[in-house]
């Protein structure tokens, strides 16, 4: 079945900060053009017009942290021809997935005066853990040009052109000087997927890994090197692996190894983050 000339696009939000869907509004110069190419029928952040499904393209932001959201997601999946996850929360649990490695009750008690009013799951999980997804766009937040590319690709029935290579590739193309080699900074660029345009290194700061792991990422290798040569502590390693994309498997594996090493060394806090 061919895509209609003006596919119906909807934007949905789960546990997230809204930054990814705001990237769509950030497409200031291109926004009018997009709205000619697709019919934005449900985008509460942008318009009061919220039409019912079915939808041709659903952009889904955020992770699943409540039972209610899980049900809502199932309905959205049923209403959507293509479901596209946007951002680190939707693709790898997001910052809020740090609860996955400790007792969520501790956070609830620390943050809310009446935690008993909360109804939340023990974990923050990616959309793909619950329903079939058609595409995952990485980033915290996503890059607006990549978002445009993905929307256009689905709207016109072609494969999105999104590279799976390392941030280093963009970093060198941009002419940045490697902050790891020239300044000894802790940088996750070599294991992180490109797409941001090597933004942080362009401002002389190591990559935080917000776009998640690249294909064939040698996570343990880089972490070992940063610890041996660039002063990364075990706790820094664990925190950096569980920052933006905690549910990404290659990061989880090495973070667990860090936990085990910490436990073996008898250090305090074998897996949790204390504040």
């Amino acid at each position: 079945m061919a895509m209609p000339a003006q596919p119906r696009l909807a934007v949905f939000k789960f546990a997230s900060c809204d930054g990814c869907q705001l990237s769509l509004l950030d497409c200031e110069d291109e926004l009018l053009s997009i709205s000619e190419r697709v019919d934005i029928v449900h985008f509460p952040e942008a318009s009061r017009r919220m039409l019912k499904g079915p939808y041709d393209i659903a952009l889904v932001e955020g992770s699943i942290t409540t039972a209610h959201d899980r049900e809502r997601l199932t309905e959205i999946r049923e209403q959507s021809r293509f479901l596209i996850c946007i951002g680190a929360c939707a693709t790898a649990g997001g910052l809020q997935a740090m609860r996955n490695f400790t007792d969520v009750g501790d956070y609830a008690r620390a943050v809310y005066p009446h935690p008993e009013y909360l109804s939340t799951l023990e974990t923050s999980t990616p959309i793909a853990d619950h329903v079939a997804v058609d595409y995952e766009l990485r980033g915290c937040p996503v890059d607006k040009y990549q978002l445009l590319e993905v929307v256009l690709a689905f709207a016109t029935g072609r494969r999105p052109q999104i590279a799976r290579e390392s941030v280093c590739m963009e970093c060198k193309a941009r002419g940045n000087v490697c902050v790891l080699v020239a300044q000894g900074q802790q940088c996750l660029g070599p294991i992180t997927q490109a797409g941001c345009g090597a933004l942080c290194p362009a401002y002389a700061r190591g990559c935080y890994g917000c776009f998640g792991v690249k294909e064939q990422a040698q996570v343990g290798l880089l972490i070992d090197h940063l610890r041996a040569r660039h002063g990364m502590t075990l706790d820094q390693a664990r925190r950096s692996l569980r920052a933006y994309n905690p549910a990404a498997e290659p990061l989880q594996i090495i973070a667990l190894e860090c936990d085990e090493e910490g436990a073996a060394a008898g250090s305090a806090g074998s897996g949790g983050h204390d504040g």
Binding site: I34, T156, E165, M169, N176, Q216, Q218
Partner: protein
């Protein structure tokens, strides 16, 4: 041969700029020496390099060329990281080729000159890349004999340096870094024209010795050795050597080595699509044999493992290249060693792979 002062060198830059030529050379930026548009040369800059390590240092002298190679290569100007090739507008193909501007590279080292001539074979050999060729034809090359070597240099082993070979318009030698002067030789008519624009006294005959001493001292300083003899056969007959697995356990497959390599020429293409008209601009950009997409063919990725990617890079650079272009793809610049985040050393890996089992 002429003898110039630092002021004469500045006069050369000024006269090139006055002629509307884009002058590209060393600039201090982001904790390294970069190649960029310049109107003067940095003074007293040096560096320390080891595998996976680079630090900009102060030399506390007046040298203009006292630094070794940084992460920039001249290829970024001749074979840019991203370039529009053509666009399709209302169903019509329109070339994006621009009128080439005149460029002058200042401070080209021997290994870099060799790298430019290798890329000349790639882009102007059996097939001519029109963009590259037009930029290359409008280029002045002002080379420098190296007056020092970094910990990662090995051009003496590959035979590409430290003395500048053929292909430059002008060759400079910096003598006496605390109070430098420059021995200047022209290799082409354009070089003679540049000498005429600046003037300066003819150098005394014994200055040739001063030049040769600078080069000999650099050669002496170069610690790293690389056995190049028979390397192509040795590598191609060692495709199953267990050391490939050892390298693969240390390689991040990030692609940095290929992006800083002055001879790596792989590219990929992608389309920039206008959201309304759906007009397309066909872009060409740097690629790397360390990415999965590089070997993606219908049905899947050919080189899935890190091992197969590293082996592809090394065997192409040092063996396949010879079959394709009649020479090795390595000029001993050592950038792949310095800028590998984990410091994988090509010279050591090759030595291991050449070791009989």
């Amino acid at each position: 041969m002429r003898r110039w002062t630092p002021t004469d060198l500045q006069t050369l830059i000024d006269s090139l700029l006055a002629d509307g030529i884009r002058v590209l050379g060393p600039r201090v930026g982001d904790a390294a020496i970069l190649y960029d548009e310049i109107d003067t040369l940095p003074i007293g800059c040096g560096d320390e390099q080891a595998p996976g390590y680079y630090r900009l240092t102060a030399r506390h002298d007046q040298s203009r060329f006292g630094y070794n190679l940084g992460p920039s290569t001249w290829k970024q100007f001749l074979f840019p990281p991203e370039e529009a090739i053509f666009r399709v507008q209302d169903g019509e193909f329109i070339s994006c080729r621009e009128q080439p501007e005149k460029m002058a590279f200042i401070g080209v080292r021997a290994c870099e000159l060799a790298a430019v001539s290798i890329q000349d074979r790639v882009f102007m050999g059996d097939f001519t890349d029109p963009g590259y060729a037009s930029r290359r034809e409008n280029l002045l090359l002002i080379a420098v004999n190296c007056s020092q070597a970094s910990g990662n240099c090995f051009c003496a082993s590959t035979g590409d340096g430290p003395a500048v070979g053929v292909g430059a318009d002008l060759i400079l030698t910096e003598v006496r870094p605390e109070d430098p002067y420059y021995l200047v030789e022209a290799q082409t008519e354009a070089g003679q024209w540049m000498i005429a624009a600046v003037g300066g006294p003819v150098a005394a005959p014994e200055e040739i010795d001063a030049r040769d001493e600078v080069i000999a001292a650099t050669r002496q300083q170069m610690q790293r050795e690389f056995a190049t003899e028979g390397i192509a056969d040795a590598l191609l007959s060692a495709l199953d050597h267990p050391h490939w697995d050892v390298v693969a356990e240390r390689c991040l497959a990030c692609g940095n080595c290929t992006q800083v390599c002055p001879t790596c020429f792989c590219s990929t293409t992608r389309e920039h699509v206008n959201p309304v008209s759906l007009d397309v601009t066909h872009m060409r950009g740097w690629d790397s044999c360390f990415t999965a997409d590089h070997s993606y063919l219908s049905g899947g990725v050919v080189r899935q493992s890190v091992k197969s990617r590293y082996r592809q890079w090394l065997t192409h650079k040092l063996a396949g290249w010879d079959q394709q272009f009649g020479l090795s793809g390595c000029t001993g610049c050592g950038r792949c060693i310095s800028w590998c985040p984990v410091g994988i050393d090509l010279t050591e890996e090759v030595a291991e792979i050449r070791r009989p089992l």
